[in-house]
Protein backbone atom coordinates (compact mmCIF):
# COMPACT_ATOMS: atom_id res chain seq x y z
CA UNK A 1 0.00 0.00 0.00
CA UNK A 2 1.13 3.50 -0.70
CA UNK A 3 -0.18 6.94 0.21
CA UNK A 4 -0.49 9.41 -2.64
CA UNK A 5 -0.58 13.07 -1.67
CA UNK A 6 -1.13 15.45 -4.53
CA UNK A 7 -1.26 19.25 -4.44
CA UNK A 8 -3.08 20.58 -7.49
CA UNK A 9 -4.68 23.72 -8.91
CA UNK A 10 -8.24 24.11 -7.56
CA UNK A 11 -9.61 24.40 -11.08
CA UNK A 12 -8.32 20.88 -11.93
CA UNK A 13 -10.09 19.05 -9.11
CA UNK A 14 -12.99 17.73 -11.16
CA UNK A 15 -10.76 16.45 -13.96
CA UNK A 16 -8.46 14.67 -11.49
CA UNK A 17 -11.36 13.13 -9.59
CA UNK A 18 -12.91 11.79 -12.80
CA UNK A 19 -9.59 10.32 -13.94
CA UNK A 20 -9.07 8.55 -10.59
CA UNK A 21 -12.59 7.13 -10.49
CA UNK A 22 -12.09 5.84 -14.05
CA UNK A 23 -9.05 3.69 -13.06
CA UNK A 24 -10.94 2.28 -10.07
CA UNK A 25 -9.80 4.39 -7.12
CA UNK A 26 -12.76 4.43 -4.79
CA UNK A 27 -11.79 6.60 -1.85
CA UNK A 28 -9.99 9.88 -1.42
CA UNK A 29 -9.80 12.82 0.97
CA UNK A 30 -9.75 16.34 -0.36
CA UNK A 31 -8.50 19.39 1.57
CA UNK A 32 -8.67 23.02 0.65
CA UNK A 33 -5.16 24.26 1.23
CA UNK A 34 -2.93 27.30 0.83
CA UNK A 35 0.67 27.19 -0.16
CA UNK A 36 3.34 27.81 -2.70
CA UNK A 37 6.30 26.13 -4.31
CA UNK A 38 8.55 27.91 -6.75
CA UNK A 39 5.55 29.79 -8.13
CA UNK A 40 5.51 32.28 -5.21
CA UNK A 41 2.49 34.57 -5.05
CA UNK A 42 1.01 37.67 -6.56
CA UNK A 43 0.53 41.30 -5.51
CA UNK A 44 -2.76 42.93 -4.56
CA UNK A 45 -3.53 46.64 -4.29
CA UNK A 46 -5.96 48.06 -1.74
CA UNK A 47 -6.27 51.83 -1.90
CA UNK A 48 -2.74 52.14 -3.19
CA UNK A 49 -1.15 49.86 -0.58
CA UNK A 50 0.58 46.91 -2.15
CA UNK A 51 0.26 43.51 -0.51
CA UNK A 52 2.22 40.44 -1.55
CA UNK A 53 0.11 37.32 -1.27
CA UNK A 54 2.53 34.38 -1.33
CA UNK A 55 0.18 31.63 -0.14
CA UNK A 56 -2.14 30.71 -2.95
CA UNK A 57 -5.28 28.58 -2.78
CA UNK A 58 -4.59 24.93 -3.68
CA UNK A 59 -6.35 21.58 -3.37
CA UNK A 60 -4.65 18.71 -1.60
CA UNK A 61 -5.79 15.15 -2.36
CA UNK A 62 -4.88 12.23 -0.15
CA UNK A 63 -5.51 8.59 -0.90
CA UNK A 64 -4.03 5.22 -0.01
CA UNK A 65 -3.97 2.70 -2.86
CA UNK A 66 -2.77 -0.89 -3.35
CA UNK A 67 0.75 -1.14 -4.84
CA UNK A 68 -0.43 -2.30 -8.27
CA UNK A 69 -2.55 0.87 -8.72
CA UNK A 70 0.12 3.41 -7.75
CA UNK A 71 1.62 4.00 -11.19
CA UNK A 72 -1.76 4.21 -12.89
CA UNK A 73 -3.00 6.65 -10.23
CA UNK A 74 0.08 8.88 -10.48
CA UNK A 75 -0.30 8.97 -14.24
CA UNK A 76 -4.01 9.74 -13.98
CA UNK A 77 -3.33 12.67 -11.65
CA UNK A 78 -0.38 14.16 -13.48
CA UNK A 79 -1.99 13.94 -16.91
CA UNK A 80 -5.31 15.39 -15.81
CA UNK A 81 -3.89 18.17 -13.56
CA UNK A 82 -1.27 19.45 -15.98
CA UNK A 83 -1.58 22.87 -17.60
CA UNK A 84 2.14 23.10 -18.39
CA UNK A 85 2.49 26.34 -16.43
CA UNK A 86 4.30 26.98 -13.17
CA UNK A 87 2.06 26.25 -10.18
CA UNK A 88 0.60 22.95 -11.40
CA UNK A 89 1.53 21.26 -8.13
CA UNK A 90 3.29 18.12 -6.91
CA UNK A 91 2.66 14.46 -6.09
CA UNK A 92 4.24 12.73 -3.09
CA UNK A 93 4.35 8.96 -2.46
CA UNK A 94 4.99 7.16 0.81
CA UNK A 95 4.75 3.58 2.12
CA UNK A 96 1.84 2.69 4.35
CA UNK A 97 2.22 -0.07 6.97
CA UNK A 98 -1.38 -0.94 7.53
CA UNK A 99 -4.98 0.19 7.05
CA UNK A 100 -7.93 -0.50 9.31
CA UNK A 101 -11.59 -0.20 8.45
CA UNK A 102 -13.29 1.21 11.53
CA UNK A 103 -16.65 -0.44 10.84
CA UNK A 104 -15.39 -4.06 11.14
CA UNK A 105 -11.64 -3.95 11.99
CA UNK A 106 -10.78 -5.36 8.55
CA UNK A 107 -7.03 -4.91 7.92
CA UNK A 108 -4.63 -4.51 5.01
CA UNK A 109 -5.38 -3.72 1.33
CA UNK A 110 -8.91 -5.11 1.61
CA UNK A 111 -9.71 -2.34 4.09
CA UNK A 112 -9.07 0.30 1.41
Amino acid sequence: MQKIEAVIQPSKLDAVKDALVEIGIEGMTILEARGHGRQKGHTEFYRGREYTVDLLPKIKLEMVVPDELVDKAVHAISSSARTGKIGDGKIFLSKIDDAIRIRNDERGPSAL
Binding site: F45, Y46, R47, G48, R49
Partner: protein, 467 residues
Amino acid sequence: MRPHILRLLLALTLCCSPVVFAQTPAAPSPSDRITKLESQVAQAQSSADNAWMLTSAALVLMMTGPGLALFYGGLVRKKNVLSTMMQSFAMMAIISVLWALTNYSLAFGQGTSFIGGLHNVFLRGVGLTPDPDYSATIPLQTFMIYQLMFAIITPALVTGAFAERMKFSAMALFLTLWSIIVYSPMAHMVWGKGGLLNASLGGRFPCLDFAGGTVVHVTSGVSALVCALYLGKRLGYPKEPTPPHSVVLSFIGACLLWVGWFGFNAGSALGSSPLATSAFVNTHFGAAAAALSWALAEWIRNGKPSALGAISGSVAGLVAITPAAGFVQPMSAIVIGLIAGFFCYFMVVKVKSWFGYDDSLDAFGVHGAGGTIGAILTGIFASSVINPIFKDTRTGAALPSGVIEGNWHQVFNQLIGVAIAWTISIVGTLILLKIVDLTIGLRVSSENEIEGLDLTQHGEEGYDYAS
Protein backbone atom coordinates in the same frame (compact mmCIF):
# COMPACT_ATOMS: atom_id res chain seq x y z
CA MET B 1 -82.47 39.03 12.07
CA ARG B 2 -84.50 40.84 9.35
CA PRO B 3 -86.66 43.04 11.62
CA HIS B 4 -83.52 44.19 13.42
CA ILE B 5 -81.89 45.42 10.22
CA LEU B 6 -85.08 47.16 9.12
CA ARG B 7 -85.33 48.94 12.45
CA LEU B 8 -81.73 50.00 12.25
CA LEU B 9 -82.20 51.40 8.74
CA LEU B 10 -85.26 53.35 9.87
CA ALA B 11 -83.33 54.81 12.78
CA LEU B 12 -80.43 55.81 10.53
CA THR B 13 -82.75 57.52 8.05
CA LEU B 14 -84.42 59.49 10.82
CA CYS B 15 -81.07 60.53 12.23
CA CYS B 16 -79.65 61.67 8.93
CA SER B 17 -82.68 63.44 7.51
CA PRO B 18 -82.35 66.75 9.44
CA VAL B 19 -78.78 67.09 8.14
CA VAL B 20 -79.94 66.59 4.57
CA PHE B 21 -82.62 69.23 4.99
CA ALA B 22 -80.19 71.66 6.62
CA GLN B 23 -77.70 71.53 3.78
CA THR B 24 -79.95 72.49 0.92
CA PRO B 25 -80.69 76.15 1.62
CA ALA B 26 -77.22 77.76 2.26
CA ALA B 27 -74.85 77.33 -0.76
CA PRO B 28 -71.24 78.21 0.25
CA SER B 29 -70.03 81.57 -0.99
CA PRO B 30 -67.21 81.60 -3.60
CA SER B 31 -64.76 83.01 -1.04
CA ASP B 32 -65.56 80.20 1.40
CA ARG B 33 -65.01 77.68 -1.34
CA ILE B 34 -61.66 79.24 -2.27
CA THR B 35 -60.56 79.24 1.37
CA LYS B 36 -61.51 75.60 1.65
CA LEU B 37 -59.76 74.78 -1.59
CA GLU B 38 -56.63 76.60 -0.49
CA SER B 39 -56.47 74.69 2.74
CA GLN B 40 -56.94 71.43 0.86
CA VAL B 41 -54.12 72.35 -1.54
CA ALA B 42 -51.85 73.20 1.38
CA GLN B 43 -52.79 69.92 3.05
CA ALA B 44 -52.02 67.98 -0.13
CA GLN B 45 -48.60 69.62 -0.45
CA SER B 46 -47.91 69.02 3.20
CA SER B 47 -48.80 65.34 2.83
CA ALA B 48 -46.55 64.94 -0.20
CA ASP B 49 -43.64 66.76 1.45
CA ASN B 50 -44.03 64.84 4.68
CA ALA B 51 -44.09 61.51 2.84
CA TRP B 52 -40.82 62.32 1.08
CA MET B 53 -39.17 63.66 4.22
CA LEU B 54 -40.03 60.62 6.32
CA THR B 55 -38.75 58.40 3.52
CA SER B 56 -35.59 60.48 3.35
CA ALA B 57 -35.05 60.24 7.10
CA ALA B 58 -35.25 56.45 6.85
CA LEU B 59 -32.83 56.46 3.89
CA VAL B 60 -30.28 58.53 5.81
CA LEU B 61 -30.48 56.17 8.78
CA MET B 62 -29.85 53.29 6.36
CA MET B 63 -26.59 55.00 5.39
CA THR B 64 -25.20 54.43 8.89
CA GLY B 65 -26.73 51.04 9.49
CA PRO B 66 -26.11 48.92 7.58
CA GLY B 67 -24.44 51.12 4.91
CA LEU B 68 -21.44 52.58 6.71
CA ALA B 69 -21.21 49.63 9.11
CA LEU B 70 -20.74 47.26 6.16
CA PHE B 71 -18.48 49.64 4.26
CA TYR B 72 -16.13 50.05 7.22
CA GLY B 73 -16.65 46.50 8.53
CA GLY B 74 -15.38 44.98 5.30
CA LEU B 75 -12.25 47.12 5.30
CA VAL B 76 -10.88 45.92 8.66
CA ARG B 77 -9.31 42.58 9.50
CA LYS B 78 -11.78 39.89 10.46
CA LYS B 79 -10.89 40.00 14.15
CA ASN B 80 -12.28 43.57 14.26
CA VAL B 81 -15.35 43.34 12.05
CA LEU B 82 -17.99 43.39 14.79
CA SER B 83 -16.32 46.09 16.86
CA THR B 84 -16.14 48.30 13.78
CA MET B 85 -19.80 47.72 12.91
CA MET B 86 -20.75 48.21 16.54
CA GLN B 87 -19.18 51.68 16.54
CA SER B 88 -21.62 52.80 13.84
CA PHE B 89 -24.53 51.10 15.58
CA ALA B 90 -23.61 52.66 18.92
CA MET B 91 -24.00 56.07 17.30
CA MET B 92 -27.52 55.12 16.17
CA ALA B 93 -28.42 54.51 19.80
CA ILE B 94 -26.37 57.10 21.71
CA ILE B 95 -26.81 60.12 19.46
CA SER B 96 -30.56 59.49 19.09
CA VAL B 97 -31.15 59.77 22.82
CA LEU B 98 -28.73 62.67 23.13
CA TRP B 99 -30.51 64.46 20.28
CA ALA B 100 -33.85 64.32 22.08
CA LEU B 101 -32.31 65.46 25.36
CA THR B 102 -30.10 68.38 24.33
CA ASN B 103 -28.49 68.28 20.92
CA TYR B 104 -31.50 69.16 18.77
CA SER B 105 -31.88 72.30 20.81
CA LEU B 106 -28.16 73.11 20.62
CA ALA B 107 -28.19 72.70 16.85
CA PHE B 108 -31.56 74.09 15.79
CA GLY B 109 -32.94 76.04 18.72
CA GLN B 110 -32.96 79.82 18.80
CA GLY B 111 -29.60 80.96 20.13
CA THR B 112 -26.47 82.89 19.24
CA SER B 113 -24.86 82.86 15.82
CA PHE B 114 -22.58 80.02 17.01
CA ILE B 115 -24.82 77.65 18.95
CA GLY B 116 -28.49 77.15 19.69
CA GLY B 117 -30.00 77.75 23.09
CA LEU B 118 -31.74 75.45 25.52
CA HIS B 119 -35.33 76.37 24.59
CA ASN B 120 -35.97 73.01 22.94
CA VAL B 121 -34.24 70.64 25.37
CA PHE B 122 -36.20 67.40 25.93
CA LEU B 123 -37.89 68.32 22.62
CA ARG B 124 -39.96 70.99 24.34
CA GLY B 125 -41.91 72.91 21.69
CA VAL B 126 -40.98 70.43 18.97
CA GLY B 127 -44.44 69.36 17.92
CA LEU B 128 -46.38 68.44 14.83
CA THR B 129 -46.94 71.95 13.52
CA PRO B 130 -44.35 73.22 11.05
CA ASP B 131 -41.72 75.82 11.88
CA PRO B 132 -41.75 78.11 8.80
CA ASP B 133 -38.12 79.15 9.40
CA TYR B 134 -37.05 75.59 8.58
CA SER B 135 -39.88 74.27 6.44
CA ALA B 136 -43.44 75.54 6.26
CA THR B 137 -44.94 72.32 4.99
CA ILE B 138 -43.65 69.52 7.22
CA PRO B 139 -44.25 68.90 10.92
CA LEU B 140 -41.34 70.16 13.01
CA GLN B 141 -40.90 66.63 14.38
CA THR B 142 -40.28 65.38 10.85
CA PHE B 143 -37.57 68.02 10.48
CA MET B 144 -36.15 67.06 13.88
CA ILE B 145 -35.98 63.32 13.15
CA TYR B 146 -34.54 63.97 9.67
CA GLN B 147 -31.76 66.13 11.09
CA LEU B 148 -31.07 63.50 13.75
CA MET B 149 -30.03 61.03 11.05
CA PHE B 150 -27.28 63.46 9.98
CA ALA B 151 -26.14 63.83 13.57
CA ILE B 152 -25.84 60.03 13.73
CA ILE B 153 -23.79 59.44 10.61
CA THR B 154 -21.31 62.26 11.22
CA PRO B 155 -19.59 60.83 14.33
CA ALA B 156 -19.96 57.34 12.82
CA LEU B 157 -17.80 58.51 9.91
CA VAL B 158 -15.04 59.55 12.34
CA THR B 159 -14.71 55.96 13.57
CA GLY B 160 -12.94 55.03 10.32
CA ALA B 161 -9.81 56.87 11.46
CA PHE B 162 -9.24 54.99 14.71
CA ALA B 163 -10.59 51.61 13.65
CA GLU B 164 -8.93 48.50 15.09
CA ARG B 165 -7.32 50.21 18.11
CA MET B 166 -9.68 52.38 20.22
CA LYS B 167 -11.45 51.19 23.34
CA PHE B 168 -15.23 50.95 22.98
CA SER B 169 -15.78 52.97 26.17
CA ALA B 170 -13.39 55.70 25.00
CA MET B 171 -15.04 55.80 21.59
CA ALA B 172 -18.51 56.16 23.13
CA LEU B 173 -17.47 58.92 25.52
CA PHE B 174 -15.39 60.79 22.96
CA LEU B 175 -18.07 60.82 20.26
CA THR B 176 -20.82 61.74 22.73
CA LEU B 177 -18.83 64.81 23.76
CA TRP B 178 -17.85 65.45 20.13
CA SER B 179 -21.49 65.56 19.07
CA ILE B 180 -22.13 68.28 21.66
CA ILE B 181 -18.94 70.32 21.23
CA VAL B 182 -18.21 70.02 17.51
CA TYR B 183 -21.29 68.84 15.61
CA SER B 184 -24.03 70.87 17.28
CA PRO B 185 -22.36 74.29 16.90
CA MET B 186 -21.36 73.56 13.30
CA ALA B 187 -24.88 72.45 12.38
CA HIS B 188 -26.24 75.56 14.08
CA MET B 189 -23.89 77.89 12.26
CA VAL B 190 -24.75 76.51 8.82
CA TRP B 191 -28.41 75.50 9.17
CA GLY B 192 -29.73 76.89 12.45
CA LYS B 193 -31.80 80.04 13.00
CA GLY B 194 -29.43 83.01 13.20
CA GLY B 195 -26.41 80.86 12.34
CA LEU B 196 -23.26 82.70 11.29
CA LEU B 197 -22.97 80.86 7.96
CA ASN B 198 -26.64 80.26 7.20
CA ALA B 199 -27.23 81.26 3.58
CA SER B 200 -31.01 80.90 3.53
CA LEU B 201 -31.70 82.61 6.86
CA GLY B 202 -29.42 85.60 6.33
CA GLY B 203 -26.17 84.61 8.05
CA ARG B 204 -23.18 86.97 8.25
CA PHE B 205 -21.08 84.83 5.85
CA PRO B 206 -23.56 82.93 3.66
CA CYS B 207 -21.81 79.63 2.99
CA LEU B 208 -23.58 77.39 0.49
CA ASP B 209 -23.85 73.95 2.01
CA PHE B 210 -26.92 72.17 0.71
CA ALA B 211 -26.72 68.87 2.57
CA GLY B 212 -23.73 69.00 4.89
CA GLY B 213 -20.40 69.19 3.05
CA THR B 214 -18.95 71.26 5.88
CA VAL B 215 -21.28 70.21 8.71
CA VAL B 216 -20.97 66.48 8.10
CA HIS B 217 -17.97 65.70 5.94
CA VAL B 218 -15.38 68.36 6.75
CA THR B 219 -16.02 68.07 10.50
CA SER B 220 -15.93 64.26 10.51
CA GLY B 221 -13.00 64.01 8.10
CA VAL B 222 -10.80 66.58 9.81
CA SER B 223 -11.60 65.24 13.27
CA ALA B 224 -10.71 61.81 11.91
CA LEU B 225 -7.27 63.08 10.89
CA VAL B 226 -6.71 64.53 14.36
CA CYS B 227 -7.74 61.19 15.90
CA ALA B 228 -5.37 59.24 13.63
CA LEU B 229 -2.49 61.56 14.56
CA TYR B 230 -3.29 61.60 18.29
CA LEU B 231 -3.83 57.85 18.70
CA GLY B 232 -0.88 56.85 16.55
CA LYS B 233 -0.61 53.97 14.15
CA ARG B 234 -1.96 50.48 14.55
CA LEU B 235 0.63 47.98 15.78
CA GLY B 236 2.85 46.94 12.91
CA TYR B 237 1.52 49.57 10.48
CA PRO B 238 2.64 49.96 7.74
CA LYS B 239 5.08 47.00 7.76
CA GLU B 240 2.52 44.35 8.57
CA PRO B 241 -0.25 43.94 6.02
CA THR B 242 -3.76 45.04 7.03
CA PRO B 243 -5.78 44.18 3.93
CA PRO B 244 -9.59 44.44 3.94
CA HIS B 245 -11.04 41.13 5.12
CA SER B 246 -14.04 41.39 2.82
CA VAL B 247 -14.32 43.83 -0.05
CA VAL B 248 -17.71 42.16 -0.66
CA LEU B 249 -19.12 43.63 2.57
CA SER B 250 -17.66 47.01 1.69
CA PHE B 251 -19.18 46.76 -1.76
CA ILE B 252 -22.69 46.16 -0.39
CA GLY B 253 -22.16 48.97 2.10
CA ALA B 254 -21.08 51.43 -0.57
CA CYS B 255 -24.10 50.61 -2.74
CA LEU B 256 -26.40 51.18 0.25
CA LEU B 257 -24.61 54.47 0.90
CA TRP B 258 -25.22 55.54 -2.68
CA VAL B 259 -28.97 54.84 -2.43
CA GLY B 260 -29.22 56.32 1.06
CA TRP B 261 -27.52 59.46 -0.18
CA PHE B 262 -30.62 60.30 -2.22
CA GLY B 263 -32.37 60.84 1.11
CA PHE B 264 -29.37 62.76 2.42
CA ASN B 265 -29.13 65.20 -0.49
CA ALA B 266 -32.55 65.26 -2.17
CA GLY B 267 -34.17 65.19 1.28
CA SER B 268 -32.25 68.35 2.14
CA ALA B 269 -34.67 70.23 -0.14
CA LEU B 270 -36.99 69.65 2.88
CA GLY B 271 -39.88 68.90 0.56
CA SER B 272 -40.96 66.95 -2.45
CA SER B 273 -40.05 69.87 -4.74
CA PRO B 274 -38.30 70.32 -8.10
CA LEU B 275 -35.24 71.28 -6.04
CA ALA B 276 -35.31 67.76 -4.57
CA THR B 277 -35.22 66.39 -8.12
CA SER B 278 -32.25 68.61 -8.91
CA ALA B 279 -30.38 67.39 -5.84
CA PHE B 280 -31.29 63.77 -6.63
CA VAL B 281 -30.00 64.03 -10.20
CA ASN B 282 -26.77 65.78 -9.18
CA THR B 283 -26.12 63.25 -6.42
CA HIS B 284 -26.34 60.41 -8.88
CA PHE B 285 -24.12 61.98 -11.53
CA GLY B 286 -21.55 63.09 -8.98
CA ALA B 287 -21.22 59.56 -7.60
CA ALA B 288 -20.99 57.95 -11.02
CA ALA B 289 -18.38 60.40 -12.33
CA ALA B 290 -16.16 60.01 -9.26
CA ALA B 291 -16.35 56.20 -9.42
CA LEU B 292 -15.06 56.50 -12.98
CA SER B 293 -12.22 58.88 -12.22
CA TRP B 294 -10.92 56.97 -9.15
CA ALA B 295 -11.04 53.66 -11.03
CA LEU B 296 -9.37 55.28 -14.02
CA ALA B 297 -6.58 56.69 -11.86
CA GLU B 298 -5.97 53.18 -10.48
CA TRP B 299 -6.12 51.62 -13.90
CA ILE B 300 -3.41 53.98 -15.13
CA ARG B 301 -1.17 53.51 -12.07
CA ASN B 302 -1.64 49.83 -11.22
CA GLY B 303 -2.79 48.45 -14.53
CA LYS B 304 -6.13 47.30 -13.07
CA PRO B 305 -9.32 49.06 -11.95
CA SER B 306 -10.27 47.59 -8.56
CA ALA B 307 -13.73 47.14 -7.07
CA LEU B 308 -12.57 48.82 -3.87
CA GLY B 309 -11.29 51.75 -5.93
CA ALA B 310 -14.57 52.16 -7.81
CA ILE B 311 -16.70 52.10 -4.67
CA SER B 312 -14.31 54.41 -2.80
CA GLY B 313 -14.55 56.79 -5.74
CA SER B 314 -18.35 56.76 -5.67
CA VAL B 315 -18.32 57.64 -1.96
CA ALA B 316 -15.82 60.45 -2.62
CA GLY B 317 -18.13 61.79 -5.34
CA LEU B 318 -21.15 61.60 -3.04
CA VAL B 319 -19.21 63.53 -0.40
CA ALA B 320 -18.12 66.24 -2.82
CA ILE B 321 -21.55 66.69 -4.38
CA THR B 322 -23.23 66.98 -0.97
CA PRO B 323 -22.79 70.75 -0.48
CA ALA B 324 -23.46 71.40 -4.18
CA ALA B 325 -26.43 69.07 -4.72
CA GLY B 326 -29.16 71.72 -4.62
CA PHE B 327 -27.19 74.49 -6.27
CA VAL B 328 -25.60 73.23 -9.48
CA GLN B 329 -26.52 72.01 -12.97
CA PRO B 330 -26.14 68.31 -13.82
CA MET B 331 -23.09 68.92 -16.03
CA SER B 332 -21.38 70.71 -13.16
CA ALA B 333 -22.18 67.72 -10.94
CA ILE B 334 -20.29 65.47 -13.35
CA VAL B 335 -17.29 67.82 -13.31
CA ILE B 336 -17.36 67.97 -9.49
CA GLY B 337 -17.50 64.17 -9.35
CA LEU B 338 -14.60 63.71 -11.75
CA ILE B 339 -12.43 66.15 -9.79
CA ALA B 340 -13.36 64.58 -6.44
CA GLY B 341 -12.50 61.05 -7.64
CA PHE B 342 -9.01 62.08 -8.77
CA PHE B 343 -8.38 64.33 -5.79
CA CYS B 344 -9.43 61.83 -3.12
CA TYR B 345 -7.48 59.05 -4.84
CA PHE B 346 -4.42 61.30 -4.66
CA MET B 347 -5.06 62.09 -0.98
CA VAL B 348 -5.58 58.45 0.01
CA VAL B 349 -2.83 56.87 -2.05
CA LYS B 350 -0.13 59.53 -2.19
CA VAL B 351 -0.55 62.12 0.57
CA LYS B 352 -1.28 59.54 3.28
CA SER B 353 1.93 57.65 2.57
CA TRP B 354 3.97 60.86 2.33
CA PHE B 355 2.95 61.88 5.83
CA GLY B 356 2.70 58.34 7.17
CA TYR B 357 -0.40 58.82 9.35
CA ASP B 358 -2.60 55.76 9.86
CA ASP B 359 -6.08 56.95 8.89
CA SER B 360 -7.13 53.30 8.88
CA LEU B 361 -10.22 53.50 6.66
CA ASP B 362 -9.47 56.84 5.00
CA ALA B 363 -12.10 58.91 6.76
CA PHE B 364 -9.95 62.00 6.19
CA GLY B 365 -8.86 61.14 2.67
CA VAL B 366 -12.44 60.65 1.51
CA HIS B 367 -14.62 62.81 3.79
CA GLY B 368 -12.24 65.55 4.89
CA ALA B 369 -10.63 66.01 1.50
CA GLY B 370 -13.80 65.38 -0.51
CA GLY B 371 -15.86 67.67 1.73
CA THR B 372 -13.33 70.49 1.45
CA ILE B 373 -12.96 70.30 -2.32
CA GLY B 374 -16.75 69.96 -2.68
CA ALA B 375 -17.41 73.06 -0.57
CA ILE B 376 -15.01 75.14 -2.67
CA LEU B 377 -16.36 73.78 -5.99
CA THR B 378 -19.90 74.62 -4.82
CA GLY B 379 -18.85 78.28 -4.68
CA ILE B 380 -17.61 77.98 -8.23
CA PHE B 381 -20.46 76.05 -9.86
CA ALA B 382 -23.53 77.32 -7.94
CA SER B 383 -26.22 78.47 -10.34
CA SER B 384 -29.12 80.81 -9.57
CA VAL B 385 -31.17 79.03 -12.25
CA ILE B 386 -31.25 75.92 -10.08
CA ASN B 387 -31.56 77.68 -6.74
CA PRO B 388 -32.01 81.47 -6.50
CA ILE B 389 -30.64 81.58 -2.96
CA PHE B 390 -29.42 85.18 -3.04
CA LYS B 391 -32.09 87.78 -3.80
CA ASP B 392 -31.99 91.52 -4.24
CA THR B 393 -33.52 92.86 -1.02
CA ARG B 394 -35.61 95.50 -2.86
CA THR B 395 -36.65 93.93 -6.13
CA GLY B 396 -36.55 90.29 -5.09
CA ALA B 397 -34.70 89.40 -8.30
CA ALA B 398 -32.23 86.53 -8.16
CA LEU B 399 -28.58 87.52 -7.77
CA PRO B 400 -25.67 85.47 -9.15
CA SER B 401 -24.76 82.45 -6.98
CA GLY B 402 -21.32 81.14 -7.91
CA VAL B 403 -18.17 82.07 -9.81
CA ILE B 404 -19.59 80.78 -13.12
CA GLU B 405 -22.21 83.52 -12.80
CA GLY B 406 -19.65 86.15 -11.82
CA ASN B 407 -20.03 85.99 -8.03
CA TRP B 408 -16.35 85.60 -7.15
CA HIS B 409 -17.06 86.55 -3.58
CA GLN B 410 -18.84 83.24 -2.99
CA VAL B 411 -15.55 81.31 -3.00
CA PHE B 412 -14.45 83.53 -0.13
CA ASN B 413 -17.64 82.70 1.82
CA GLN B 414 -17.11 79.01 1.11
CA LEU B 415 -13.54 79.24 2.37
CA ILE B 416 -14.75 80.92 5.57
CA GLY B 417 -17.18 78.04 6.10
CA VAL B 418 -14.43 75.49 5.46
CA ALA B 419 -11.96 77.32 7.71
CA ILE B 420 -14.46 77.45 10.58
CA ALA B 421 -15.26 73.76 10.14
CA TRP B 422 -11.54 72.86 10.13
CA THR B 423 -10.82 75.02 13.18
CA ILE B 424 -13.69 73.82 15.35
CA SER B 425 -12.90 70.21 14.39
CA ILE B 426 -9.19 70.43 15.17
CA VAL B 427 -9.54 72.36 18.43
CA GLY B 428 -12.62 70.50 19.67
CA THR B 429 -11.28 67.05 18.83
CA LEU B 430 -7.87 67.71 20.41
CA ILE B 431 -9.38 68.93 23.67
CA LEU B 432 -11.86 66.04 23.86
CA LEU B 433 -9.25 63.39 23.04
CA LYS B 434 -7.02 64.80 25.79
CA ILE B 435 -9.89 64.67 28.31
CA VAL B 436 -10.81 61.07 27.43
CA ASP B 437 -7.15 60.05 27.32
CA LEU B 438 -6.55 61.40 30.83
CA THR B 439 -9.73 59.91 32.31
CA ILE B 440 -10.31 56.46 30.82
CA GLY B 441 -7.57 56.13 28.20
CA LEU B 442 -8.03 55.90 24.45
CA ARG B 443 -6.26 52.82 23.14
CA VAL B 444 -6.69 49.18 23.94
CA SER B 445 -3.60 47.39 25.29
CA SER B 446 -1.26 45.97 22.68
CA GLU B 447 -2.26 42.41 23.71
CA ASN B 448 -5.89 43.29 23.10
CA GLU B 449 -5.08 44.92 19.81
CA ILE B 450 -3.33 41.79 18.60
CA GLU B 451 -6.14 39.54 19.81
CA GLY B 452 -8.71 41.76 18.12
CA LEU B 453 -11.35 44.16 19.38
CA ASP B 454 -14.29 41.82 18.78
CA LEU B 455 -13.13 39.42 21.41
CA THR B 456 -11.57 41.88 23.84
CA GLN B 457 -14.18 44.66 23.71
CA HIS B 458 -17.35 42.70 23.08
CA GLY B 459 -16.61 39.06 23.94
CA GLU B 460 -17.77 37.70 20.60
CA GLU B 461 -16.53 36.92 17.12
CA GLY B 462 -17.83 37.97 13.73
CA TYR B 463 -17.30 34.61 12.09
CA ASP B 464 -17.48 31.23 13.74
CA TYR B 465 -16.26 28.74 11.20
CA ALA B 466 -16.34 25.81 13.62
CA SER B 467 -20.08 25.65 14.20
